[in-house]
Symmetry: C2
Subunit: 487 residues, 2 copies
Amino acid sequence: MDDSWPTSAAEALGGTGVDLHLDLPHGTPHGRRAALERALRDAVRGGRLAPGSRLPSSRRLAAETGLSRGTVKSAYDQLTAEGYLTARQGSGTVVADRPQGPSAPAPGRSAVPRAPRHDLRPGSPDVTSFPTSAWLRATRRVLSAAPSAAYDYGDPRGTAELRTALAGYLGRTRGVVAEPDRIVVVSGYVQGLSLLTGVLGGRGGRERGGPVVAMEDPGLPFHREVVRRAGGRVVPLPVDEWGAGACPREADAVVVTPAHQYPTGVTLHPARRHALTAWAREGGGLVVEDDYDGEFRYDRQPVGALQGTAPDQVVYLGTASKTLGPALRLGWMVLPPHLVAPVAEAKLYSDYHTGSVGQLALAELIADHAYDRHVRAARLRYRRRRDLLVARLTGEAPYPGVEVRGVAAGLHALLGLPQDGPDEAEVLRRAAALGLAVGALGEHWHAADDAVGPGPGRPQGLIVGYGTPGEGGYPAALDILTRVLGP
Amino acid sequence: MDDSWPTSAAEALGGTGVDLHLDLPHGTPHGRRAALERALRDAVRGGRLAPGSRLPSSRRLAAETGLSRGTVKSAYDQLTAEGYLTARQGSGTVVADRPQGPSAPAPGRSAVPRAPRHDLRPGSPDVTSFPTSAWLRATRRVLSAAPSAAYDYGDPRGTAELRTALAGYLGRTRGVVAEPDRIVVVSGYVQGLSLLTGVLGGRGGRERGGPVVAMEDPGLPFHREVVRRAGGRVVPLPVDEWGAGACPREADAVVVTPAHQYPTGVTLHPARRHALTAWAREGGGLVVEDDYDGEFRYDRQPVGALQGTAPDQVVYLGTASKTLGPALRLGWMVLPPHLVAPVAEAKLYSDYHTGSVGQLALAELIADHAYDRHVRAARLRYRRRRDLLVARLTGEAPYPGVEVRGVAAGLHALLGLPQDGPDEAEVLRRAAALGLAVGALGEHWHAADDAVGPGPGRPQGLIVGYGTPGEGGYPAALDILTRVLGP
């Protein structure tokens, strides 16, 4: 849900000069062997040991350095394995021939943008709660139990284990009609959306320049760009207080977030749900359901997935990004039967399949209910955070004109700004000055893609993500937020 | 390297009938709680417990079933978390409202193709040697040491840890010019090739219908299809005993396997290496180096990567698929600087980034040399297998006219068939009759894509992959092979 990425620091690799007399440190045998290897490697790379030059025998080098002969031999073996040295019958160890070419890497650039002191931007879950022990336990079980075939190329649709576990989980928790045969495991939502757009394009789409995909307005600009890059033409699907509105006639597909619209937080109204699936049934279009927040509903019973009411018209897309962590890159598509083969084929030709170890670990977590327990605990934590946010903004000292919306579910809220107050840009500036980063509604309008900016009269609002700050930092971030919104 | 995939068995999900009187098994409390949960879930799903119906109090159900009240309460909690039940203030636990829709999944189809008794098809490494303990150890270290930010969205180029480890490893073992800033981590070779084709297309390619990509003939048909699906136009690059020949003028890129051509096993001749990079320098074309077998060279010093001699013209592509296992879906591109940003962007919009836990585990393995040790041990094992193959086919009872080629490296050999003997199809039939699967040269010619088949006078040959059969099965597979080739 985040369309920026950090330019992470690149470490410089420049070799350090090492005397060929090999000034080795005292210390553990392992440490000294490593130092010897490093010194030899640097000498070869730096050209001080030319290709073909003969190295001292292990016996002699051992005597000269005070290392054991075994240590020297191990170091020689390692560098031979690495291709620096070569053992020649009868002539001992010599420096290997290596291809010439520029070899001194340039020092890396370091350009890490400064992180904000208080981060209430939406898009990321609370990764401090990633269940490292449970994940490790599941991985251990996978690695000790999986047959060796599990390490070979796998099924592009995903492992049978995960598809079976997901079928059960999605059926019982989200009301998804999800036999394993309808599921294709993907590496997150972006990939699912991209593959699907490609498949729609390959099937003719609208012929005239790719399939037409209607996407919520406002919605995430990053996802619009994913569709465009995969060959789709994006048209707006206006969102009001009932959620996504009427589907454009010409659309081949509509992409919606029924459980908790992003960014407005609206839940799709039953009448609109019906209208969407009727549109798909009548015109043969496809509904794509992005269930990114489906697990985190606080105030009412979970709203079942739209897919459950029209499994042959709706593609259900879910991920472990919000429940566990985005870094796993694990997602799933539940497809109408006629789309399973084309999507699996698109997956095959784009990256063969998603890594199996992670898939199997997730299947373990789901099968033994650790996943349910984790989701339940996360839901409680997020609910408490949500409650705190609502209490701070609507409590004894309400902020005139600021409306807190979309808080029945998920990890973000929309704060509607008063018409007569400062606009989004002004509020963001105030926040930044106090070290607070927060999202703005403005960048989510389709018009924003053309840098036109929100049209006149469009509502102004902040998007507050409450998943991110650590437990310690959250109240402080809210303090700043209330100062920014205050008079 | 394998373009088929198993249609794996899909498990049927059909619920089993459970009496509402809940006939629970004796056994551990955990087992009985699980049985209670299952029974309730099935009852709700099957409609025997209708939405809104009230469940007995935990006290009463405990008394009726002989379970402890705590066990019953836990089961209720679990099903409430899953959305089946809901706890209503004052009216106890009731069955939740759930969306209507078809909910009984069809029984899964099971269509697993029968595996051959003896498998000498190329494309897979010896996955029985996957280093499960080392991988688990590395994963444990990652999960206990990584900061929580490691579980959030990451850099589309890959983690700094893995790019740094790869830079060192590829520099010292393959002579690759590989600062971390030049590297983009991908989910295997297929993805690297696909992204690159897309980037060439986006840069205008040849305008007229996508970039022109010259690919070795013979070569892997699967990879040609990857390029086509990503919008490329494939033209043949003929291979002779020196490897890939002259680059077509009109090509935007050429894809080659310099270390060990697939499927002929030829090593690219120095003169040809020079011609390739000269072509790229003069015409501005790009060379894509598929180093799939670079680590497994047996008879001579490793042949350094082509990239090391022309790092601004060559894209180096390597993976952990042959060294560890294809299921990890871990690969890397080392790019000319001007291509790093476009490739990282293409990666971002196609799947954001490759899963971080696997990346970090591989970085650990490389940093502590466990990766080197594993590769060295694998090289010894494969070399012994290669030696056995050569001994069986060229030893005391040679097979007239059968030439064993391409065995200086890698996991496969080309067996040239005599002009006057039975043709490929006939030999494959004989092999299949004895339960042996083996590859054929014929399907690798570009003409084969059009189902024209190999042209007249084209050499005939078998591709024997010796990575796959388990240590126990390999000699038996060779027995069958010699029978098939014998008179």
